[in-house]
Amino acid sequence: MGADVFDLIRERLAPRVREAGLSHGILALQIAPAELLPVVQELKAQGFDLFLDVTAVDWPGQDPRFEVVWHFYSTTHKVRVRVKTRVAEQDPAVDTLVPLYGAARIMERECHDMYGIVFRGNADLRPILLYEGFVGHPLRKDYPKQQEQPLVPYRK
């Protein structure tokens, strides 16, 4: 059932997608950051109505350094699509998907917490799992695992 919609998406998005392939039953699309909104709009129009997830992968030493990864699910076709793009360390910004999916709001906050990815247009990027005033982004590979930033000083 999924194959038809995958073919349709590949065909319709062919000019916008750098690379498309199947990864363990999921259609994986590699795109340029600027193509995010049109690509996701097309996905939503094709029935991908459930925003599953957004996260990032840190590849230090590579340029661009961060890979931002979205997953979408279609409740009609019952298949998933993965969208990936790369952003540079100096300007780790992509467009927000909040106007398209409410669920993006909290998950973009988490991704901003953990990797410092900026979601342009998301007005509410306050810390969600971390606390106000936390310095750095803990899931970046250059953040030492043992580093502590206690909000309340430890008792001597």
Binding site: H24, L52, A103, I128, E132, G133
Partner: protein, 408 residues
Amino acid sequence: MDLKIPNPVRPAFDKVDNPDAIIVNIGPSHPATHGTVQIIAALDGEKVLRTDVHCGYLHRGFEKECESHTWHNLIPYVDRLNYCSALINDFAYCEAVEKLMGVEITPRCKYLRTLLSEYSRLADHMTCIAAALMELGAMTAFLYLVTIRDYVYEHLADLTGARVTYSYGRIGGLARDLPDGWLRRLEEILVQYDEWVGRIHALVDRNRIFIDRMRDVGVISTADAINWGYTGPILRSTGAPRDLRKDTPYLAYAELDFEVPVGIKGDNYDRYFVRMREMDESVHMIRQCVDLLDEKGQGPINVDDRRCTFPEKELVYTEIESLITHFKLVMDGPNVPAGEVYSAHEAANGELGFYLVSTGGGVPYKVHVRAPSFVHIGGTHLMLDGYQLADIVPTFGSINMIGGECDR
């Protein structure tokens, strides 16, 4: 001592237009917030105008920690995501790794995992309903449900050695096979389940107080639920029959006969009833799995694959190849080829997805969990705004936010 503690959160609003409104803080240490969630609410009298929900008080760096342990060593960690149904986390994680490795589990393992997933769902739903009812004052109902849940916990302890965090899944199989008499005791518990849950139905289903507190409270529409990423019992309570066990069958679900119960209007009462009906379906599935185990599920529980399966202890002590395999698996971890995978199971709360990235070798490069509770917290305000202050308690109870998986 002059100790100034900075506020860990910045509220989304510090004033509201309504001159009569006040802003109050509820939680994170409030009995009705289960200890880990904070709700900043603007109130006009008893009416909730606006809420700002904060989580993160149970954040422990799960994903960071995962990047420095072998694939096997993560199993105790994933147990602690949704600690009410730890086995489902185990199996979802193991399946994701198995997909990366191209491992296909044995039939016995498949049926056992299905059986135990449903058994865990039973325990999880009972915990949720028991807590939600107790917060409304139904102490008897709480004790009834926790009695039967305790039978389940003790019974799982017979199998796994632990009551709550089992560490029972293994990449390519399970820790151990069923002990003697386990299935006999299972049937006894299922019979008792029917009896005790029947009493819950009798106590609350048509109870005037219960209906007044639950009906038409915390309503969410299907369109809103999908837009805000809701899955699991909350989405189904709105009337949408979306269930990964039916839609993208995994494990042995394609072979099982079961229904997907749905609600009518997505209020607290529907969420209660959907969970109650799902428990009945789980029991039905468990019984089918017992039969399937007997018919097709004989044989080993672990795959015969040296990349992930530990050799028998006896062989480790007597045979050099097994000793080396054991040593390599402990020291280096299972050799998972480079790649990435997203794999999801229908956990008790909704879609539990694992996004794993491997660069080859025994330690993951990245582990990300798509935790249903975390997504649900993002849309909680939809079910709180516009209702009474006292409605926060049953609504929050019916969302079943689990701090372990929400905050990771």
